[in-house]
Point group: C2
Chain length 264, copies 2
DNA sequence: CGCCGACTTGACACCAATCAAGATAAGTGG
DNA sequence: CCACTTATCTTGATTGGTGTCAAGTCGGCG
């Protein structure tokens, strides 16, 4: 998920020169760029000119979903479209051969998804809540990519960014226990204004316990225990099932980086 | 690692049309393509014309390492080069803040590595054994990418492929126990002729126990236990420390996909 | 032949998955 | 506004997997 973006997507540079204006790699949540560009207000430095942007969005359809549970595509379908999130949150699933689901990533505003493999999607994408999604035909996209290297380059940068996110997940799944994974997740969510009320330090969880567990690579019971433990350590407080109050951010960060996979 | 390539790199297609000649996604190890092209013998369908290939390799340096333990680059260094493996095996490391190492991937012939982020490498790369590596200056690469969309497209495809590998690791680390992870690793290694003697069913492990553990996201003791268990189930036999005899491939595949994270 | 590094294993404590059942909140109709 | 239904969240007890620490064994190389 881009929640775990090591750095802002717009700041990726594929070479040693260019627009590496951001500085240190930090756990930043990217804002809402469409291929590096904010759609409504071209706020920060544009990676695509507005003409290029218009040309891309010209062939795009804006899909609006009022609630969660809608399937945008499933594994094995012919991949006709590339998707870009405008609003809301999307989960990218894959099922193991034994039927167990893994949520590979959550996608939020500015993220793209729907990369095909041999012309087919290799995972499924579903809305988690209300969402607005841009849908761009792949054949248009391919033409644009070949015709305009700049556009391709920005798509390239996005994919490199997703690759980094995946590597970050590997780090987390490879060496953190459920508590630490939950802490990482919470700290990531904290960076999204849509979910975090900084005033009251209240975080609204956008996903249910099953999604959370499948994202953390655990069983619902374990993620529940992780909540209980973080609460017992006064790092957070469960207000309602879907709302938590973050009590100790630095404590969460400390836990996240502790050597051992749980130490009590 | 590309050992866990869901499919051959050369078969990736970014759209719904094009060269999707391979068919079903299968756990194939890609051969030895340089950006989708075999260097010596242009065997299967070339993705790059030989001129394009020559142009790329014109600026490349061939680095030759006689033994393992050489560092090609480390985290934080300015990223001046893109690397492509010709022979041997490279490990891509990243260290968590607590100092624990995670091996994100192993790279073998045909794989590329050294993608920068803000102009810097975000992980380190070291030779595991003797290796030959092509080193291409990034500024040349960037010029070529902008000047020739075809070249950029093939680099793009490679990165998408690496992204899929990373997702596959997420699946494994998210829902398999150490035994299953080891089985997956062994089954992947089996596809590389350099390490697997199909006649005698002997597999030569290219990495030591520490590397293996850091790759599996475990401690050496656990990976050792995993070996012991696979041996007790007659799935393999430890001949020497670095050589195993594979006894039951389908048994390993069955174990790999078992529902529970270990069932005995 | 003997040293050294790498692999291998034992005992202990802890974390995580299973199963099933109870508690809480949200949505619905009277 | 209240009772009901339903979905979701939450919790004990048991079994087995995994990290820690330290000690033992094997193989290769001089």
């Amino acid at each position: 998920m881009n929640l775990i973006t090591p750095k802002s997507g717009a700041n990726v540079d594929i070479g040693t020169h260019g627009c590496n204006r951001a500085g240190k790699p930090s756990l930043e949540i990217r804002a809402r760029p469409l291929l590096g560009v904010n759609i409504e207000s071209a706020g920060t430095q544009n990676l695509l000119s507005s003409e290029e942007q218009d040309r891309l969005l010209h062939d795009a359809t804006l899909l609006t979903y009022r609630r969660g549970g809608n399937t945008l595509f499933t594994e094995g379908q012919t991949a006709n479209f590339l998707f870009v999130v405008d609003q809301g949150i999307i989960r990218i699933n894959r099922y193991a051969e034994n039927g167990r689901r893994q949520i590979l990533a959550f996608r939020v505003a500015g993220d793209l998804f729907g990369l095909p493999e041999n012309g087919q999607y290799v995972d499924s994408a579903e809305t988690v809540g209300p969402a607005k999604i841009y849908r761009i035909p792949w054949h248009r996209m391919q033409l644009a990519m070949l015709a305009e290297p700049q556009i391709q380059l920005h798509l390239f940068i996005k994919v490199v960014d997703d690759f980094r996110q995946a590597e970050h997940r590997i780090m987390i799944l490879g060496q953190q226990n459920t508590c630490q994974r939950l802490a990482s997740f919470i700290l990531d969510l904290r960076r999204i204004p849509e979910f975090f009320d900084e005033e009251r330090s209240l975080l609204k969880l956008p996903v249910n316990r099953f999604d959370l567990a499948d994202y953390l690579g655990a069983v619902p019971k374990s993620s529940e225990r992780a909540f209980a433990r973080l609460e017992s350590q006064s790092l957070l407080r469960r207000v309602t099932a879907r709302t938590i109050e973050i009590l100790d951010i630095s404590g969460l960060q400390r836990l996240q980086h502790e050597r051992w996979r749980d130490h009590r």
